[in-house]
Amino acid sequence: MPVSPRPPVINIYQPESEIRHPLRLLCQMGQDLLASRELAWRLMVRDISAQYRQSLLGLLWAFIPPIITALGLVVAKNSGVVNIGPTDLPYPVYVVFSMALWQTFVEALNGPLVAVTQAKPMLAKVNFPREALILAKLGEVGVNFAIKLGLILLLFLWFRIAVTWAVVLAPVALIHLVLLGTAIGLFLAPLGILYGDVSRGLTLAVAPWLLLTPVIYPVPTQGWFGWVVNLNPVTPLLVTTRELATHGVVSNPAGFWIASSLTLVALGLAWLLYRLAMPFLIERISA
């Protein structure tokens, strides 16, 4: 077979830190991101089809957890076991919708560490654009949310929830929510590959974090608790998504803009960390 004449790609590997050539590094990051699209698609299709092929209930698994959580909470609220203030939506819709958003955030948060851990043998042996792992996980998060969206739509119809034109903006806020999870996950992934403590700590942190986010209760406005909840960067992103998707009135636009800009900056930095750390991680993991 003749060797096709292509411009020679020159790869240079040396001990010097890549951050000393920021322009070259940024170019490579961009190139790799573009180059990883096809692989990311393949990996996503692989993981999703394998997941559903080995399951009897299949799609139902996306519906069951939010329904059970919502049922539990509705019963608890109606019987007066927990005291939750009035929500701007009927409570079952409020809980199912908010839980779906929260779960999507948590999936995005866990995504990078899970993806890299699963891909260890691949990472240790094949040089492929590392961004593909993250993109594939993001795709999976998106697909999972799309499935949950079906349930949410049914509930919206059942409870006759009025939706305004602002609903078209809801995905923008949702993307920021997912990106925030990804950014935090990416920050933790390098350390998490080296030390098992990170993934344990993450699991442990998610439960109290849920309680500090207005998912099963409305946004608190007073007291130290309200203050803590509003400092939580998930709060403005999640609440704005919910508001845009329903009555369309954004209660805290400033908070949203601050949180979303923070998200984008953090994502960039986390991506850089992920990339630069990768050769050192591969060196330390045995696959």
């Binding site: 077979m1 060797v3 096709s4 292509r6 020679p8 790609v9 020159i10 790869n11 240079i12 590997y13 040396q14 001990p15 010097e16 830190s17 890549e18 951050i19 000393r20 096809e38 692989l39 393949r42 990996l43 692989r46 993981d47 089809s49 394998a50 092929r53 080995q54 043998p121 691949m122 990472l123 240790a124 042996k125 094949v126 040089n127 492929f128 390098p190 350390l191 080296l194 030390y195 960390l273 630069l276 750390a277 050769p279 050192f280 991680l281 591969i282 060196e283 330390r284």
Partner: protein
Amino acid sequence: MATRSGTPPTPDAEPLVKVTGVSKKFCRDLKKSLWYGVQDIGSELVGRPPQASLRQDEFWAVRDISFELHRGQCLGLIGHNGAGKTTLLKMLNGLIKPDRGRIEMRGRVGALIALGTGFNPVLTGRENIYVNASILGISKREIDARMEEIIDFAEIEDFIDAPVQSYSSGMTVRLGFAVASRLNPDILIIDEVLAVGDIAFKIKCYNEIYRLVKHSAVILVSHSMAQIARISSHCLVMDHGKKAMMTDNVAQGIDCYNQMAPSMTMTQMGDGRATLDKMLIATGQGEKVTLDLRRERPAQVAVRYRDRLTLAVAIRVDPGVRYIRPQFSFLDIEQRFVAQLTPPRPIQNRPGRLIITATVDQISLNQGTYSLGCAFYEASGSSEIVLVAFRDMVSLKVSYAGYLGAAPIQLLGSWRIK
């Protein structure tokens, strides 16, 4: 610097692979290794050069390796386990960074390293082809165009739409190789992938590799010296991370590797009912070595292929043992058990010292270094208990000027051509 053959066989002026003074350190201690990893990432982030000297518990896994490789050349990389071959390959492939030195790779790099990377056992062979190809950087279009070719090559027509978990290990590897060899790289890295599959498939793989070798610069790691001899144009012998020899005379390199047999320490085992104190090794060339087994220092003996080899031991066995069965074993450089010498019937024990002599009229081991051991069993009924055994007593170097065979045993035959 690297030794280079007189004229590069292709018009490429620049070498495709240029490795200059590359070193890499590893850490023996896991806890420290992880912590050093965190430190190294920190240094990388602030743009500080990495720690050039060794920290506690670190050692050089690869040390000061340099070579150049042009299109059409194939470098055979040989050395014992832990010599640093795989680490060097990982640096060449850009998976890990060198701690010192510089690597320049010009062109598309392909690696036949982990066959079937990314296979998901639940998915079908066809689906996995796309995944695997995508990981290796082969586009869907290329795969679509060559799907039939891949399935044919892997010889799994009937199973292509069955889940990969129902495949035999041979089928999985065949499929992996079939995909990976669709690459058309400028630089090809091969690590021990031909150690698998049946002989017919191995031959197909060889032919495929020959095809790739012609158009690319190849780095081949293998423990099979025959493979190295057949494919390589150059040879780099590594020993504890360092270069032991770099040559374009591959036979010479293989010889260097064979001589680097890991330093042996004789070990004794058994239940104490027999003592072995002396051993004599004699060759047809008149060489004679007497080994004092109480001092337990191994000896080295050189023998030529087809030479006579005599092994004699002096042994005392507890009178309670009625029959003994001696066995001499020959292990190759990878500690594989390649040949044994055992009498057809057990030997009756006698009080006092027993001299047992075995003669092989024509030694038919392939060229290389072998480790000789012996074991004496109590032969009673079906069970055999080890009375006394020695490992790594003698390092036997078999030399042969002619054909370098691939198998450890080169049978003696007479040939007639009409």
